[in-house]
Amino acid sequence: MMVMRVQRMPSESFAGGLAARLVAIILALLVAAIAFAWTGADLGKLGAHVLKSTFGSRFGLMDICLIMTPLILTGLAVTIAQKVGAWNIGAEGQFSAGAFAATSVALYVPGPAVLVLPLMVVAGALGGVIWILIPTLARAYADVSELITTLLLNFVGILLVYYVATGPWLDPSGLSFASTARLPPEIPLFWGDVHWGFPLAVLLTILVAVVLNYTRWGYEVRISGSNPSVAHYAAIPFRRHLIVVMILSGAIAGLAGMFELAGTTHRLQGGISNNFGYVGIMVAVLARGSALGVLLGAALMAVILKSGISLQTQGVSMSTVIALTGLILFFTAIADELSHYRVVRPMRTEN
């Protein structure tokens, strides 16, 4: 008799993995919809509202691009750290530090925007680098879990921004209680309200993908991340790659903060990081290490975030979006594991 058996495979097929993830995302959205319906919300009305505010108008699409910009960068930051086998859960803090550093340039360096903006870009990246430096060195030289150290620095970064935005750098005009004055250097606009940060983020993603996939350095980084002992055997300087890539990861997350500051908010305000760092982890998980994936993941999460914002009048808050993000992440993790299983027929044996 033929017995069907389920067997776990070391790796899953691309199509199978993709299908499992789609099912996971749909299931998560379904659970959220059921939860909404249970609280007595009119799902049809909510759905129509979401569609209209996202894909239904030019402004909706512009907003999605604006939200995508920081998400592409934080997602990219988490992704490249993963490539070398590190968990950068601290994009939130590096984002804040980048925004903080860029603000300090905007406040204290006089001059035309053409000169100040590049300086702000450098400062933003540098802020992110400083924020990831200690976790990087601790991981590289003392094997301290970078997952926890980067995460803890998130709270410090958010507190730092909150402190300067309500204290020393508070808007002197007295119109605001929790932000700096409007900072004059602005990233020029690209399409409607969308600033040049968006195409630059996309370009940077493509550049990183090319370097990782088509250069010797990228190859060594990928080997270091997937199997450190093989890297060691092949005389690949694992520690050096780890340090360089983690610092790069921090720089990209810091850049996200600078773009958000000079492109979208134009003021340093408490909570400027707005969970972009945490959602960036989700983007990286959805992307699974591919650059094209980062763009798609960022698009999906931007649509979800934008939907959440557009539903705020209906009593949906940022917390709802965060909970939903967690739900999608949970189902995705399960789907990734389940897609390793294959139904196999054992070979027929004669007695």
Partner: protein
């Protein structure tokens, strides 16, 4: 003197949240499962605790219900990580996001409402009149004694003095070998991950019913992550975990004292202390002797799902 007495009392009270959550995480990590959802579990426990006492004024009921919620959520987490064997880091992060998100959603209605009843401090006669330490050590709510004395004793006894504990540690060190000797690896992992989650949620109820005592968004403020860091720092041992939590209570209460006494340091800067302190302490043990480091090492199979068929 008064400053010191107050500092001791607040340190012990503040450290209780971390101690309870860290004890739960010790259980989970000893069987080889990293539960990064502690932050979410504390949030859920905190909101369950406050919501319960607003409806029915019994802090004990609040604690029990919070732990029940933690147990159920922990079972969901254990199903994903132990039975289905999905990635533990991702599931933990997901649990943190879900927990903090859902707690904040429910918490809107309770924001800023002080807990109508709390775990009141009880003064132990005579001892509580001791100078300096009397107030801190002997005028605390009942949970403090449970968290700092009863629980670490029980967990230490379980882990290092019973057959069950030997099985439990074997599952975390070498699940394949444990399985070969007939120890039910999955059952043990499932049980202790769920129990650990219940303790983490209990820490949330302690936060809103004994320490703060009220709910506001962001009240948990990374304590779950500090607790996870403590477990590593404490070498996965219950007594050291509790002591480390006390140390963190001290760092936290330094911030409070600083604010109360108008030290010339801004409040947000003082609030950074626990996080910076945690990072500092995570790096310190590395400088310790090789022998101590080996003693404090993580369970060998930590974070690795166990597949019987792939060996």
């Amino acid at each position: 003197m008064d400053l010191l007495a107050g500092l001791i009392q607040t340190s012990i009270l503040a450290g209780g949240v971390l101690a309870l959550a860290a004890l739960g995480e010790v259980l989970s990590q000893r069987v080889g499962v990293v539960n990064l959802g502690v932050e979410g579990l504390i949030s859920l426990g905190a909101i369950t605790g406050i919501a319960t006492v607003v409806a029915i004024p019994s802090p004990l009921l609040g604690l029990v219900l919070a732990m029940l919620v933690g147990l159920i959520v922990g079972m969901v987490f254990a199903t994903a990580t132990v039975i289905i064997r999905a990635n533990q880091i991702l599931c933990g992060l997901a649990l943190t996001l879900m927990g903090t998100g859902v707690a904040a959603m429910i918490g809107k209605a309770y924001s800023g409402v002080p807990a109508p009843v709390t775990f009141e401090p009880i003064a132990i006669p005579i001892l509580s009149d001791l100078p300096v330490v009397g107030r801190g050590l002997f005028t605390q709510n009942v949970l403090v004694y449970v968290i700092y004395l009863v629980l670490p004793f029980c967990i230490h006894h379980l882990l290092f003095r019973t057959r069950r504990g030997l099985d439990l540690r074997a599952v975390g060190e070498n699940p394949a070998a444990a399985d070969a000797t007939g120890i039910p690896v999955r059952q043990i992992r499932f049980l202790y991950v769920s129990l650990g989650s219940a303790l983490a949620a209990g820490a949330g109820a302690y936060l809103t019913l004994a320490f703060v005592p009220s709910w506001s968004e962001g009240v948990v403020a990374g304590r779950g992550w500090i607790a996870v860091a403590l477990v590593i720092f404490a070498g996965y041992r219950p007594w050291t975990a509790v002591l480390a939590a006390l140390l963190f209570g001290l760092i936290t209460s330094l911030g409070f004292v600083g604010q109360a006494r108008n030290w010339p340091i801004a409040a947000p800067i003082l609030s950074m202390l626990p996080y910076l302190g945690t990072i500092g302490l995570m790096i310190v043990p590395v400088l310790a002797w090789q022998k101590v480091r080996r003693l404090m090492a993580a369970p060998a199979a930590l974070g690795q799902p166990y597949f019987r068929d792939i060996r």
